[in-house]
């Protein structure tokens, strides 16, 4: 049976509250996981484990966040994603809205792409596929 986005959001919220020790009302769809909710890199793994358990899904390495993108000179030059890099990011993260990022694709803004909504969209696509 398909799961509604609201149901997915509730489970994602629970995972984030537990993993990041944030208040429930801080977990809004537009909240950035790193900048707003204070996550550090290790928290991403913690969040992945909690989502896997909550939704009974497998999240393969590199699927939620592409690996091998940032250290490839074809994709990154002078701290900015090349056209090929943006295309690669789009292909590997279909669950992320890149419209704004594409205007100024700086590497140090990639983390801001991870919002609560990103996780909700990703989890929805996994449980309802």
């Amino acid at each position: 049976m398909p799961m509604s986005e609201a149901e997915v959001f509730e489970k994602v919220k629970e995972a984030l509250v537990e993993a990041l020790s944030v208040d429930e009302d801080e977990v809004q769809p537009e909240a950035k996981i790193f900048a707003d909710l204070g996550a550090e890199s290790i928290d991403l793994l913690d969040i992945i484990f909690r989502l896997e358990k909550a939704f009974n899904i497998k999240i393969p390495r590199g699927e939620l966040m592409p690996d091998n993108l940032l250290n490839n000179p074809e994709f990154v030059q002078n701290g900015v994603l090349t056209a090929a890099g943006v295309a690669q990011l789009k292909a590997s993260m279909p669950h992320v809205n890149l419209t704004e990022f594409e205007q100024d694709p700086q590497v140090n803004k990639i983390m801001d792409l991870f919002t609560v909504q990103t996780l909700v969209s990703y989890a929805s696509s996994k449980v309802n596929q």
Partner: protein
């Protein structure tokens, strides 16, 4: 000096769960200042005791080939104090283990009574540091740690 905050394993099921005990003694120097008039076992050292219990469990699950580093204290809650003469037991269970990391859930008991919860996350650092090279030898699991668990890993009655 030995930075070992568990005395002995009393249970060790490879890849699943383990229990280690720690006997708290007034001969331990850290209790003399914490506090002189009312010595109690520091909670931070009980978190370390759980990290050693769970960390050895996680390390053994990969045959001590990975360098297992405590990455995150997801939860540490204690409801009572521990004083000299008490025996603390750390019960750790693996919740998740992957190539990158492991998550453990832990309960702390004092003389058999539950007094705390310590949930931890460990990183297999060689898999997680984006190409940063660490020494070949495993500096996490030294002989001291392996000897603690050795009695549970010997088979064939040896």
């Amino acid at each position: 000096m030995r930075w070992i905050w568990i005395d002995r394993f009393t249970e060790f099921e490879p890849g699943r769960k383990a229990t280690a005990v720690k006997n708290v003694s007034l001969a331990e120097e850290h209790l003399h200042d914490h506090w002189e008039a009312f010595p109690i076992m520091p909670v931070s050292l009980m978190v370390e005791g759980m990290a050693q219990t769970a960390g050895i469990l996680v390390g053994q699950a990969r045959d001590f080939k990975e360098k297992v580093i405590l990455a995150k204290i997801a939860k540490a809650e204690f409801s009572d104090i521990v004083v000299p003469g008490d025996q603390v037991a750390y019960h750790a269970e693996i919740q998740t283990i992957t190539a990158d990391a492991a998550v453990t859930a832990g309960t702390v008991t004092c003389n058999g009574k539950p007094i705390g919860t310590v949930d931890l996350m460990f990183s297999h650092i060689d898999q997680n540091m984006a190409g940063v090279k660490f020494p070949e030898e495993n500096f996490v699991f030294t002989g001291q740690f392996e000897r603690l668990v050795a009695p549970f890993l010997e088979t064939g009655g040896g």
